[in-house]
Symmetry: C2
Subunit: 157 residues, 2 copies
DNA sequence: TATTGTTATACTCTATAACTATA
DNA sequence: TATAGTTATAGAGTATAACAATA
């Protein structure tokens, strides 16, 4: 009984669920030696790339709700990969920066993650891989237009 | 401060996470009027397409652990969309079949899901959409090769 | 009043071990 | 002993309401 899921396999959505599930599983295996997961890794990368970033901005960039980001930042801080410093001029806010240890771990993890990414896209030509990423961005954008009312930073055409 | 996540955006994995997140959100909104979610919908579709399917086979097809499938099947049965019948010849097993109500709901939900899928891939040509699905399948296959030891039904080349 | 970060909470999906009843 | 389905449980991601401190 092959092809029991033929109806689903023609859907981009279901096919993406399966592909993403494979990626997520492989990525978490890849990140485990670094003590990171997909969420903590992506937060660390953005903090390394944007020293002084505030939590609310980080949440906005990663599309993570503020309450959920707190535990991620907590975890990174407990591991001494980042520091939370009171923002001068606004004592409500924190500025996030990576520590030396955080930057070093991030560098190593990034190399492993890029290798993982290459492994998952193996068999695709350079052009096909770029087309895949472009198509995925378009899909994400198509989704964002639906709840434009919930995203005040997105202008409505 | 645009492009705060530029490092992540070059990764197929992270870009797919964002795209899939958008799809999942839109899909659940689409399915809510039918009382379905992505998991229950996909299970219902496979049952409609394969009358008499056993739970363990369904779990294998959908890549869902057997314990997790139980609650999904429970939910579909409680909603009277499917029936569980004792398999003749093996009183341990159940054969799953959709009820008339289940097939009718599935038909309507499928139409809505295909419209959702078209909405999410809007702006992609027919060829680009097929290329996207083909690339996603390749990514999924690349992931499966890693844990071939965990999938005894996959022959190791 | 509004915003930043926080706590508490709940829901979904996922993963594993252990059980039952059959085979 | 092995398999089909089940129960219980735990982890991770996600979403919302409400709060304290500050603006």
């Amino acid at each position: 009984m092959p092809d029991a899921d033929k109806t689903l396999r023609d859907l981009a959505g279901y096919t993406m669920k399966r592909a993403f599930s494979a990626i997520q599983s492989d990525l978490n295996t890849t990140l485990k030696p670094f003590g990171l997961r997909m969420t903590t890794f992506s937060a660390l990368v953005v903090i390394v790339d944007n020293p002084g970033l505030r939590q609310s901005k980080l949440a906005e960039v990663l599309l993570i709700e503020r309450p959920n980001l707190v535990v991620i930042v907590d975890e990174l801080e407990r591991s001494e990969l980042i520091s939370r410093d009171r923002a001068k001029g606004d004592r409500r806010a924190y500025e996030l920066s990576a520590t030396l240890k955080g930057r070093q771990l991030c560098d190593k993890a990034c190399i492993a993650v890029r290798a993982h990414d290459a492994r998952m896209t193996e068999g695709l030509s350079e052009d096909e891989c770029q087309a895949l990423i472009a198509a995925l961005r378009k899909v994400e954008a198509n989704g964002s237009t639906r709840d434009a009312d919930k995203s005040p930073h997105v202008s409505r055409a």
